[in-house]
């Protein structure tokens, strides 16, 4: 059928099941926006800054498991996506970014709003395309979605010159992708699987370490079966949070820099570490040379490059977390290690996550706990980055995968609010809570306007301490309390909420926390922002100093 490439692009998006795109129009995407103007099946969400579009698409992808799509114009529109794309890349989130580009004839001539976005995003995308032949567009879109969501998921960018969008092509739906150079392996090598089974059989002090790969592959059920059948305690990376319910007796919680004492000690003492879809980031391992030194390591990952990259794997298995676990489960007999479980439980009981109450001073941990109670542990938690993120990770005990959405790898401040928009649009019935800091929230505060325009009932809990708190904490602990440029002022968040058309609540006393949250939960037609004035110098603890051994934690 004859149509413009822009029209064909939208047809392709529909064939991929795209229901929503997050974008911002501009000169180089006019042909595409002209098509979107009449489009009924795809909803367009207008953001206030392109970075917000990328994070929203990312949040949508993480919450739903579907591919998130964002659109920006050429030049500054495209470069504004960069932080969002990198965030998605570091956390293996499947998004497709579509950017406009100047027309082919003036490409490479420093034209108005020209930026070499395919060059710029080469190291931060799983793959990218600069489309020069309009006839190729349907194949490229098919490939882009296929690459984004298969294997280890990740962002793919399609750069589309404006004249390519306007060109007429003969559109035929593309049914199949065939890439000779890209064939992800899902099934584990059976010999390796049997070695892993043998190692699990023989282990006396095993630990399961689950990462974001378990969430991406939907391996929760299999992880839980393995843990229960063989009585193996489970620790998670930040990205693996939600793989199994955190209130499960076998869950030890977060591993690493701000992890639980029990998780860090268990990994340090275990004789078998079964890492699944986890990449042993420095935040999880601390000092690598002292990490899990007693353990044999089974490393299951869909990305062969992750195996042996940071920590040596004795039994590497390349494959999809869910699939490989099924293979393991087919061969594994029930097992018990009562003395190990007892030891681990003792750690857990002796060293719970804790904080000190101080009269009416608001403790951020208490705020997160209250949110947890009042949402019955059922909310989708999105976080910004810094102390707020760690308190959320430590004190909101998740039940389900895809319930905790955070920028783990890149640590992008300003992620939370726009990501919440994507989450809420992807899951309209979900209760979405953005746990924020006063620093982070200011990085993409403009997206309040987007949330208001879309009438999204997102709750934003600002843990407001007047500091860039995590940096302040490092300065306090490691830089002789020299608080260099971490005192940050903020607008009056109540007035700001009002100006944007949100509800705003301020809480200054500990005894008012619950009531404020309850009030926020009643707001259904717009965002509600709660400004919690928390203890200014509260620290995130436990803490393993950067590069230190994870069994040496600062606890008080």
């Amino acid at each position: 059928m004859r149509m413009t490439a822009a029209k064909a692009l939208v047809e392709c998006l529909k064939r991929e099941g795209v229901e929503v795109v997050f974008g911002y129009p501009g000169g180089a995407v006019l042909p595409l926006y002209d098509v979107l103007y009449d489009e009924k099946e795809i909803k367009h969400v207008l953001v206030r800054h392109e970075q917000g579009a990328a994070h929203a698409a990312d949040g949508y992808a993480r919450a739903t498991g579907k591919v998130g799509v964002c659109i920006a114009t050429s030049g500054p529109g495209a470069t504004n996506l960069v932080t969002g794309i990198t965030t998605a890349y570091m956390d293996s989130s499947p998004i497709v970014a579509i950017t406009g580009q100047v027309r082919r004839e003036i490409l490479g001539k420093d034209s108005f709003q020209e930026a070499d976005i395919s060059g710029i995003t080469m190291p931060i995308t799983k793959h990218n395309y600069l489309v020069k032949d309009p006839d190729m567009l349907p194949y490229i879109v098919k490939e882009a979605f296929y690459i984004a969501k298969t294997g280890r998921p990740g962002p793919v960018l399609i750069d589309l010159p404006v004249d390519v969008q306007a060109a007429e092509i003969d559109y035929q739906p593309v049914e199949k992708v065939s890439l000779r150079s890209y064939r992800p392996v899902y099934e584990g090598n059976i010999k390796q699987v049997l070695k892993a089974v043998e190692a699990i059989k023989e282990a006396e002090k095993p630990v399961l370490f689950v990462g974001g790969g378990c969430i991406n592959s939907g391996a929760s059920e299999e992880v839980l079966i393995l843990a229960e059948r063989c009585q193996i305690p489970v620790v998670h990376s930040l990205m693996g949070k939600g793989t199994i319910p955190e209130e499960h007796p076998l869950s030890l919680g977060l591993l690493g820099m701000h992890g639980t004492v029990s998780a860090n000690l268990a990994v340090s003492e275990c004789d078998l570490l079964i890492a699944i879809g986890a990449r042993f980031s420095d935040r999880s391992t601390g000092k690598v040379s002292t990490f899990a030194t007693m353990a044999q390591v089974i490393h299951i990952d869909i990305d062969p490059a992750e195996i042996g990259k940071n920590v040596k794997a004795h039994i590497p298995i390349v494959g999809d977390a869910k699939r490989v676990l099924q293979q393991i489960l087919a061969h594994i007999e029930p097992k018990e290690h009562p003395s190990w479980i007892k030891r681990v439980q003792e750690w857990k009981e002796k060293h719970p996550m804790k904080y000190r109450e101080e009269g009416e001073v608001i403790k951020p941990q208490k705020v997160v706990e209250a949110i947890w109670h009042l949402t019955k542990g059922e909310a989708v938690i999105v976080t910004e980055v810094g102390q707020n993120q760690m308190w959320a990770a430590q004190f909101y005990k998740t039940k389900y995968p895809r319930q905790f959405i955070t920028s783990g790898g890149l640590g992008t401040m300003g992620f939370g609010l726009p990501a919440s928009i994507g989450v809420q649009i992807g899951c309209p019935d979900a209760l979405v809570f953005d746990i924020a800091g006063d620093g982070s929230i200011q990085m993409n505060i403009q997206e309040l306007a987007t949330a208001v325009q879309q009438r999204l009932p997102i709750k934003i809990a600002i843990l407001n301490n007047g500091y860039l708190g995590m940096v302040r904490q490092w300065q306090e602990l490691f830089w002789r309390r020299r608080y260099s440029f971490v005192q940050i002022t903020a607008p009056d968040f109540l007035l700001l909420a009002q100006a944007y058309g949100c509800r705003g609540i301020r809480v200054e006393k500990s005894s008012e926390i619950e009531e404020a949250i309850k009030k926020a939960l009643e707001v259904k037609d717009r965002p509600c922002l709660i400004d919690f004035r928390i203890a200014p110098e509260e620290k995130v603890l436990p803490m393993v100093p950067a590069g230190g051994s994870i069994d040496k934690m600062l606890v008080d």
């Binding site: 395919s118 080469m122 190291p123 799983k126 890439l179 000779r180 150079s181 062969p304 490059a305 042996g308």
Partner: protein
């Protein structure tokens, strides 16, 4: 240790930039690189020489394989291969020294491809050591310019990438 990687890639614009960029950002250093089209016009072959420890080379191979347009990566370091490099060497040559340079050229089975009043251009192919040896021998006459290609390798016998 120095490793020789043979990499087959899609013959498309931008692939070289992807490969080169990957080496740069992962902190690997390319010592030499040769790339050209193969018997299959949709495929190019890169020969990359890189110095590093075993674990690093393994990581390079895996990272290369992750690039969508990389079809296959092989480490030919421990394979029986034929390796060739080509160099053009412009040597100063006076009527007195010309004869000696020509003799050296013949010994190395190299060819004189250009003769001017005061210089010669010698084309020499061989492994890296042979070319180094030739360059060292003609150095005393005065080298005006050397241009060398990256090394290319091919496995001996029936084996192919």
């Amino acid at each position: 240790m120095r490793h020789t990687l043979s990499v087959s890639v899609e013959n498309r614009p931008g692939v070289l930039a992807r490969v080169a960029g990957l080496f740069k950002r992962r902190g690997f250093n390319i010592e030499s690189l040769a790339v050209n089209i193969t018997q299959d016009p949709t495929t190019s072959r890169m020969t990359i020489v890189v110095d590093g420890e075993e674990a690093m080379i393994e990581q390079i191979g895996k990272q290369l394989n992750k690039l969508i347009e990389v079809i296959k990566v092989a480490d030919y370091t421990f394979t029986s291969t034929l390796e060739r490099e080509l160099a053009l060497v412009k040597v100063e040559a006076t009527p007195q020294t010309r004869r000696e340079i020509l003799d050296l050229t013949h010994i190395f089975r190299a060819t004189v491809v250009d003769v001017a009043e005061n210089s010669l251009i010698v084309e020499i192919t061989g492994d890296v050591e042979k070319i180094d040896a030739f360059v060292n021998l003609v150095r005393p006459y005065g080298i005006k310019e050397i241009v060398r290609t990256g090394k290319i390798v091919m496995a001996r016998g029936m084996q192919s990438l």
